[in-house]
Amino acid sequence: MEPRELAERLGERDLKILLALRERGRATPEELARELGYDEGPVMRSLYWLEERGLIESEESRERVYELGEEGEEYAEKGLPELRVARALVEAGGELGLEEALERAGVPKRLAGPTLGWLRRKGLAEIKREDGETRLVFVGEEEAIEEDLDQRVLEALSEGPASVEEVASRLDEDVEKVREALERLSERENVVEEREVRRRVVRLTDRGEEVAECAEEVLERDWITELKPEHLREGTWREKEFKPYDVRAPTKPSYPGKRHPLREVIEEIRRVFLEMGFKEVSGPLVESSFWNFDALFQPQDHAAREMQDTFYLEEPSEAELPDEKVVERVKSVHEDGGDVGSRGWGYEWDEGIARKTVLRTHTTAVSVRKLYEAEGPPLKLFSIGRVYRRETVDYKHLPEFHQCEGIVLAEDVSFRELLGILEEFYKRMGFEEVRFRPAYFPYTVLSVEPEVYFEEKGEWVELGGAGIFRQEVLRPLGFDEDVVCLAWGLGVERLAMMKLGIDDIRELYMGDLKTLLELPSARARR
């Protein structure tokens, strides 16, 4: 494209930037924004695009900048200690005892030594001894206090970090003098800090020069940039030329209102379950140990109960138990297997432990509650809900997350149907390849952990657990031995992270607005 054609397609801001750079040679983005009266964001967008088009080039320059340390901030506001002391002397008529001078000036005693040093060095005061007391006598000029350059440099820096040159320009002072002042200030501790920063500086390329040549003319041309209602009402658009746009130029991003990505994944799981003929159920977050553990044949003192770290509750501390018949049957199945053909765990079951309340550790508590209330078989239920684990927060763990769980209660289903339903479920969730590995859960037999092939990482990932509810679980709830209950569940966040391409579980909770806005909604459905 000819330089002129290109210039015609640039926006007003782009052209003004080119002109400004032609004038100045080099500039930082901040300088351009200030000079042209734009915000930095739009200027950055223009610069990005001008550089893409080869009209400008940028380089990084390193620069030393100074900023206020902790003490420096205090001094910038209240004044340097020696100036405060000098002022106190003036106010007292020219002379004070050392201690009193420090006190009046509000300077801590530990700074007495250095402050005396600076008073002498700046020629503001002299020290004399009288009757064993150290006294200070003001010897300088009063203006010297007000005009002290060190102090003015501090005040200039309180506007923000700056290089020597910038400080000089802020104060309209000689650069060398400012440099000396900064050196003096650096002798003190925590007053000014020096640090190296990288800055981006831009300048025109040769092509940029050519385009800039045409900029003024293009800016002044009388053509239609924005099509206005009066152009249409009066028909003036017929007589004028339209300014062409650079159709590739970047624009300000737009974002829709959004549902949370985790919620989107949950909706997707609900859809799959509903399509497969399942009924949605839910249960309480605060649960009794009875439903969370005991009804699931998890012995009260067994390693299995420790597989999940549990939050127990101070308030409410006790829950009611269901009807006595069920409690009695659960008790006997734990103690000696009851009448379900089991050996049981062989210990004395304690009703008090079963009453203890917990924040539910798994949605299996919901499944078993619903089985208790159920009229069936056949029955196909699912639930999705929050569960809690006593874990400290890191990139893999949160003290709470979501699980989903499905159960199929019927007379003529087997392990093969369990695998069949898992395969179908994962396929619908977007995982074509599923394999199965033996596992253990205290409440199931033929326990299995499904693994799905995760394309992005090229590896098999464990995604959930499944099995057939033990007789020790089902029979106490009142089902007879012909009934089989298939069950499976999985962690929703794990699935969501895979679908959304997130590596840190915390991103799903302690969210960053920008991430939420930019994460494509479509990912949850893929």
Binding site: L274, V286, L359, P399, F415
Partner: protein, 589 residues
């Protein structure tokens, strides 16, 4: 769960079969039932988590026994030589109130190099966790038999009695009384709480060899030169004590050692290890039904033998068992050669389960064993033919609608934890705790000690975390809250609430009011009333509650600057909170 370290060369030696590292790590060990944690091919090491139902797999010998069956190298019960040690131990009445159960065994002919020794100690610790429940129900001591001077005594003593002082492990030359061990020894401090007023002591002719469940004596320390072991297990109940002893001696026998019994006399009489075998009948029909595979009786017999049980198919009506090569030093209560105690009216497989298999509680556990030996990867999945109708939860559907409406109003949905602190839930919001909170008894972080009672603080937290992002910001969350509820079965009830907030220069009461009205209009709530509300979290005179048919459904207004300061916010925020169930009723859902 315990992580078991398996060294490839050690396992191959035990298997007496060349198996590649790759096959072991990626096929055999996972398909036996474990979560492989780490694979280091260069070192030839696999670290894997076996499940708490299989303590017998917590050492490489047990893994070898199981793999031999899985791979078809060796099936049925293994032949472990068992004899009598001639050693006797006397249990005194004094220990019955402290830690009553004692079981002992001698294991001869072990060869342990440095790795084996460390592996054995790890095995012991895993068993302490899974069976012993941190040594309380069962604790194991392993001694160099050559250093022991039988007979043994098991008794409880006065912990301060100098006569029972001994050198505990890792403190050679430091003689300590039991009380001093509990106070000064690192294990004493860790497990001292398990010792009552009198300390249990296992002693030989020369003095204590162990202070169970805390520490052994230095004198009987096991080293690489040790060939014969004395193993003691003490505890509070016989099942865990015998389980732990059997698992450990049978795994040592798998590496070629000989097991010898010890006679226990005194307060009770026992000979341990009992090597007792469990007998189960697994109906073939039940296995077919559960596995969904048309297995014959012989096939089921084969699968269960691979699981290292002695299994024999007994067809319906059969009166005599086939001759079994059941090693006769295993102990079976009834004479296993006799007819089944009940004449079976169906095909069964009679299964003899070795004493190291502590998890067989039900015949279904044996069907699971058969399933694992069949190999999970060989099952053909098939869809269930169970007709049911789907039904979505109405409340979730309604919440879905609310979320859609707010997203269309250009709000961004936020997702927060429901766990919070009184600081966040009340104080920062200028509220006094109302005693309605669900409180955690064992929190681990100060930020998470209760369940939130409302959602708005979560939104302010989000705004606070995002104050460097451009304004205006419009956010909402529909989430669970919980409160004490005397009526509820569990003493608390949880419900859903909606919170929404607008933040940024220029926002205020009228913006949030307009949004609330749009939401109500979209939900087809036709009539509502807005009344001024005094709420400490909001600016006085700029807060309102919404009533439908005289019932409160929520409130909104401009957040109080003191609250904004608490959340470090420098822009005005207008916000509101609504009960989902009340909104739903108002909307006629």
């Amino acid at each position: 769960m315990p992580v078991v370290t398996i060294r490839h060369d050690k396992l191959v030696e035990l298997l007496d079969e060349d198996v590649s590292f790759d096959e072991l790590a990626h096929e055999l060990i996972p398909m036996l039932g474990s979560d492989v944690e780490r694979i280091d091919e260069r070192e030839g090491v696999i670290e894997t988590e076996f499940f708490p139902n299989r303590p017998d797999l917590y050492s490489v010998e047990g893994v070898a026994r199981a793999l031999k069956g899985f791979m078809g190298l060796e099936t049925g019960l293994p032949e472990y030589p068992v004899g009598d040690s001639g050693i006797r131990a006397r249990v005194e009445e004094s220990v019955l109130d402290e830690r009553p159960c004692l079981a002992l065994a001698v294991v001869r002919g072990v060869e342990l190099d440095e790795w084996d020794l460390e592996h054995l100690m790890e095995f012991q610790e895993h068993l302490h966790w899974v069976i012993g429940r941190d040594r309380r129900k069962a604790a194991i001591g392993i001694h160099d038999l050559d250093a022991v001077e039988p007979p043994l005594r098991y008794l409880a003593v006065d912990p301060d009695d100098e006569d029972w002082a001994f050198e505990p492990l890792d403190h050679p030359g430091e003689e300590m009384t039991p009380a001093e061990v509990l106070k000064r020894h690192e294990k004493g401090r860790e497990y001292g709480h398990l010792v009552g007023e009198r300390a249990p002591i296992l002693a030989d002719e020369e003095g204590p060899i162990s202070l169970p469940p805390v520490i052994n004596s230095e004198r009987t320390r096991v080293t690489e030169d040790t060939t014969d072991l004395l193993i003691d297990v003490t505890g509070t109940g016989w099942r865990p004590v015998l389980d732990a002893l059997h698992v450990i001696v049978c795994n040592l026998a798998e590496r070629g050692a000989k097991i010898e019994r010890v006679e226990i006399v005194g307060a009770y009489e026992r000979i341990t290890p009992t090597m007792e075998i469990d007998v189960w009948d697994v109906p073939v029909r039940e296995a077919r039904r559960l596995l969904g595979v048309e297995l014959s009786g012989e096939e089921l017999e084969e699968l269960l033998s691979r699981a290292r049980h002695e299994a024999v198919f007994v067809p319906e009506g059969e009166r005599e068992l086939r001759e079994l090569p059941l090693p006769d030093h295993f102990h079976v209560e009834a004479d296993w050669r006799e007819l089944p105690p009940v004449l079976h009216d169906e095909d069964v497989v009679r299964v003899f389960v070795g004493p190291w298999r502590t998890n067989i509680l039900h015949e279904w556990d044996l069907i699971e064993d058969a399933g694992i030996m069949y190999n999970y990867s060989k099952f053909e999945p098939r869809p269930p033919r169970v007709y049911t109708e789907s039904r979505a939860d109405e409340e979730r559907e309604f919440i879905g609608l609310v979320r859609d409406i707010l997203a269309r109003l250009k709000f961004v949905e936020v997702n927060s934890l429901t766990l919070t602190s009184p600081e966040m839930n009340y104080r920062k919001m200028r509220l006094e705790p109302d005693g309605r909170a669900v409180k955690i008894a064992n929190p681990i972080q100060r930020e998470y000690t209760m369940v939130r009672t409302w959602v708005l603080p979560s939104l302010l937290r989000f705004l606070s975390d995002n104050k460097h992002r451009p304004y205006p910001q419009r956010v909402f969350e529909v989430g669970e809250v919980a409160e004490l509820d005397e009526e509820a079965e569990t003493g608390a009830s949880d419900r859903w609430k909606l919170a929404l907030a607008v933040a940024g220069p220029g926002t205020g009461f009228s913006e949030i009011k307009s949004v609330v009205e749009a939401l109500l209009r979209e939900l087809d709530v036709r009539e509502w009333e807005v009344k001024e509300l005094d709420h400490p979290s909001f600016i006085n005179g700029r807060c309102a509650e919404v009533l439908v048919n005289g019932l409160k459904i929520g409130f909104f207004g401009e957040i109080h600057p003191e609250v904004l300061e608490e959340f470090d916010l420098e822009v005005p925020v207008a916000a509101g909170e609504f009960e989902i169930s009340a909104l739903r009723r108002a909307a006629g859902w």
